[in-house]
Symmetry: C2
Subunit: 195 residues, 2 copies
Amino acid sequence: MVEILNAAVQAMADDGVAGMSLSDVARRVGMRPPSLYEYFPNKMAIYDAVFRIGFEELNSALRTAVADWVVDPLSAIRNGHPVYMQWCIEHPIHAQLMFWRPVPGYVPSPDAFAPSIENLLLVKKIIASAVELGQLEEGAASEEGFGLYTFIGSGLITQQLANDPQGGFPDGQYSRHTSAAVEMWISRYSPDRSL
Amino acid sequence: MVEILNAAVQAMADDGVAGMSLSDVARRVGMRPPSLYEYFPNKMAIYDAVFRIGFEELNSALRTAVADWVVDPLSAIRNGHPVYMQWCIEHPIHAQLMFWRPVPGYVPSPDAFAPSIENLLLVKKIIASAVELGQLEEGAASEEGFGLYTFIGSGLITQQLANDPQGGFPDGQYSRHTSAAVEMWISRYSPDRSL
DNA sequence: GTCTATACGTAGATAGAC
DNA sequence: GTCTATCTACGTATAGAC
């Protein structure tokens, strides 16, 4: 089960996310293709498992990094963002599946989508909390503020994965600007911009 | 030739960029698959043509929008960015091919890459010019400044295409924040931040 | 649970007639 | 230039033996 998923991710790394084939996965785990159907009902179920597990692991990494967000949400944002970036850049296959739509015909199931929504809600709560504590202006918690926050994340990941896939974190040609990107967002909604 | 490319883009829209098949394209133009080989040596050449033409058209739209960048580069940035966004969101298939890597095994040829580089250079020149005229601080023309500029663009496009593909420009769930995103970047490098 | 055998479809590409 | 015919390969998936 776990070995099959690991092999599938490896196969996607070699042939592209959409290029993964069951024969290839079976070969990697030392099985014949039909045996895979004991573990997954069809090919899309493998994508779905990778998608769901990706968000679960990302959420887990995030929650650890922002454990004390209740007392200092702004620091949680500063700490959490690089963790988010690092996870995505170190799991480029999961990230492609989670943030792009690279596989024709694959749509995440509601079940797989749940942790993705959980992820969004956590970020929203942290931002709202930073506003309540006066660490950020009200605009940060608006639709615009949240939108701008997600842009810098997805933009950074997209650029790094598409244009410098070999560069990792934190030294990649794009990922090295992670902090600068968060600070740009924070300073836009900072109540003490004159300092 | 042109009809074939249009049909190919339509096919990609229906079945995913990576899911386009020559049989489908041939059917759409009323031909048999072998006839396509009179126009393109293989399937990847079709992707390459779409990639190259995409950047050519985007560059053309951009150049028109920023025609007077020499006299007022900051306004050119403000005017050019929405044009860039609009073109990408109205040409989602081209944009996916240009900014993501959705097709296993397809790598843009140097020939197709040329207009992409031209695009980057134009943006860099405009930003550098804004710095020279004192419209932006020096940091805007640094690697960081340019990196942050590209993030907000690719992030916005990525979010809009992946999560709200039906929403267009300028009313899409994400694209509606185009101006706010540029202003966030501009204000970070604005010499008169106290105003 | 894993296998062999196979169904069934489709893909990209080429040969060669017209 | 466009076609028919075909090659070769691979894909997902299922039936049924062990």
